[in-house]
Amino acid sequence: MSELEQALVDPAPEVRPQNRTARVVTRDGATITGRLLNHDTFTLLLLDSQEQLRAFDKSDVREMTIIKSNPKTSYRGRLTAPELADLVGYLVTLKGTRSIRP
């Protein structure tokens, strides 16, 4: 089974570390969610849903969560074998751009 097919029918329960999501609630109640880029004892850096690079001082946030779980749901039983093959075939054609490396 190809890696793409496996990801569609049997997605891993957790994403790779570089694909983790962070959810930050600021003191004024704003919630920001994005891809975790880095964090240390004092700061957290992410790429938010508006594709803005954001930095937070942990002492200034009310709540901070790092989400490791994989939001993908399985397509097992929802697609026929030919449909799955078509989808994998399509996804293989997507070259995309080189991702940043956190």
């Binding site: 957790e14 790779r16 570390p17 570089q18 983790r20 975790l36 880029l37 880095n38 964090h39 240390d40 004892t41 004092f42 790092i66 490791k68 956190p102």
Partner: protein
């Protein structure tokens, strides 16, 4: 009291300029806190200073005074010496640099060009120097011990101890006791046969030698099967401690080889993963204690032996405090080696208790296998070579720790080939980010974290914990004003309240702290230094 100490410091600073560092000064190094005369500050391994100008109240006024940028991209692990206003450190791999400790300007550089044949598991590192009279001593990564004039940077003698192509290297700061310089080689991942050796400080001639892997006919030789002693490991990474009253020098010994496959070396494999107490004049073994018999988890006992005189069960006793890579905190009688207590300071799964002699009781099934076994603590240990600190004021032992992480210990067949890795398997990280240094930290607390732990030495109880999000390879310094300085992989250098663990000050150094901080004074001004990234930073109070 603080003023009085400062006055003494000023007087000593001006009176002792360019004085020779006699053995008597080394013995009484605690009496001249403006200097830092040995790797740990004193022979007792406390890395504790009686300087008190920087306090919990004013530490927020620390500012950067100067930076020394190493002309090297290797890990910068050396602790400097400071003698009467002159700082001596090692720019990796093996350049001795003499620096004006007030300004960071360079007096001279002595460069040793190590052989390209050197085989190193973990970088071209050096942890520092020793001094006696006007001579500096440095071990080199190609297995040499060199003596260099502290005034001119001129080479006095150069002795080749061992063959670098076979994996022998010197990464530790030497220990000077009386007229001898004591060192031992790293190389436990290359199947060396480790040793400790003392050299005449004037001539470089070897005076005694103790094999850390006991051979046939030697005491402990029966703990190795067949010829396995020939490649048994037993490396030396960090500087030993010394008790002048007992005339004993204490050294932690590294892992047995091959690291994770003990099939070829049946027995306890003395003196790997042990502490040995040697007569400083003769090198004769007085006692030993083995923390991890027949080690298969790479549990090098390469930590600093901390010597403290404390009441044990109501009676004064000469103790040795040891937070070990294997996850247990030990208290031993340093006169006899008697095991007094051991308590885990992180999660430990490979052993679950001790017999009356202090031998760990192994947990069945907790051993490396071809498929791998998950074991706590993980491959880098619960702590490692980076130094702890003991404060006689707080009575606490401070330990840089890797908390709550495991490794998958995998065993593989291993054949010895000179100069090639001799690990017998691997200790693979169980979380996706792994144990190695990453530019960006994405780790969560449940995957393990770095911490400073404050332990009560008499009970092993944790008094407080300062958590970091990433692991730490930084040592610890404490002072008589109850400050604690340390850092970590995150690149911050910080000060904590040594009594509570509260964060008081921090500096974003922009590079990992992979050394132990130290402190000194010039002209009544106290400095604190640390290496981070490829630079050495010196801090003092804002004037």
């Amino acid at each position: 009291m603080m003023k009085r100490i400062l006055v003494i410091v000023v007087l000593l600073s001006s009176a002792a300029v360019h004085a020779q560092v006699s053995y008597d000064r080394l013995l009484r190094s605690g009496a001249e806190p403006h200097n830092w005369l040995t790797y740990s500050g004193t022979y007792s391994g406390h890395r504790y200073s009686t300087l008190t100008q920087i306090t919990p109240q004013n530490v927020r006024d620390l500012e950067l005074k100067w930076v020394f940028q190493a002309r090297s991209l290797e890990k910068f692990e050396a602790t400097p010496l400071v003698i009467d206003g002159v700082m001596y450190t090692v720019q990796p791999p093996n350049d001795i640099v003499a620096i004006d400790a007030a300004t960071g300007r360079i007096f001279w550089v002595y460069s040793h060009q190590p052989s390209q044949l050197a085989r190193l598991c973990c970088g071209r590192v050096n942890r520092g120097l020793a001094i006696l009279d006007n001579t500096l001593f440095m071990g080199t990564i190609d297995g040499h011990l060199v003596a260099v004039d502290a005034k001119s940077g001129r080479l006095i003698w150069d002795v080749a101890l061992a063959r670098p192509e076979a994996g022998y290297s010197l990464t530790l700061a030497p220990l000077v006791v009386k007229d001898k310089v004591i060192v031992g080689p790293a190389g436990g991942e290359y199947g060396i046969r480790g040793f400790l050796a003392a050299f005449d400080a004037r001539t470089g001639k070897q005076v005694w030698r103790f094999n850390t892997v006991a051979g046939p006919g030697e005491r402990g030789g029966e703990t190795w099967g067949g010829d396995s002693w020939k490649t048994g490991g037993g490396s030396i990474w960090v500087t030993g401690s010394y008790d002048p009253d007992l005339n004993l020098t204490y050294w932690g010994i590294g892992n047995a080889g091959p690291d994770r496959n003990g099939d070829s070396r049946p027995g306890d494999n003395l003196y790997t993963a042990s502490v040995v107490a040697l007569d400083a004049d003769t090198g004769q073994l007085k006692w030993h204690y083995q923390f991890s018999p027949h080690d298969e988890f790479d549990q090098d006992a390469t930590q600093i032996a901390v010597l403290a005189d404390l009441p044990w069960q109501g009676k004064p006793r000469k103790l040795m405090l040891w937070a070990n890579r294997n996850g247990f905190f030990y208290v031993l009688d340093r006169g006899t080696g008697q095991f007094l207590s051991a308590k885990p300071f992180v999660r430990v799964t490979w052993a679950d208790g001790f017999d009356e002699h202090g031998r760990p009781q192994r947990v069945p099934g907790q051993e490396p296998t071809p498929k791998g076994t998950i074991v706590y603590p993980g491959n880098q240990g619960a702590t490692n070579w980076y130094n702890p600190s003991y404060s006689p004021r707080t009575g606490l032992l401070y330990v840089p720790a890797w908390v709550n992480y495991a490794s998958l210990f995998i065993k593989r067949p291993q054949t010895y080939v000179e100069g090639q890795y001799f690990g017998g398997g691997e200790g693979r990280a169980t979380d996706a980010q792994g144990l190695r240094t990453a530019t960006n930290n994405l780790r969560t607390e449940d995957e393990g974290y770095g911490a400073i732990l404050a332990l009560d030495p008499l009970t092993g109880e944790k008094r407080w914990e300062y958590k970091m999000t990433d692991f730490t390879d930084a040592g610890i310094l404490t002072t008589a004003s109850d400050l604690l300085f340390s850092g970590g992989r995150e690149g911050d250098f910080y000060a904590l309240d040594a009594r509570t663990g509260a964060l008081l000050w921090k500096f974003a150094a922009g590079g990992q702290v992979q050394s132990g901080p130290m402190t000194y004074a010039i002209g009544g001004r106290q400095y604190v230094t640390v290496n981070a990234g490829n630079a050495l930073y010196a801090f003092g109070l804002r004037q």
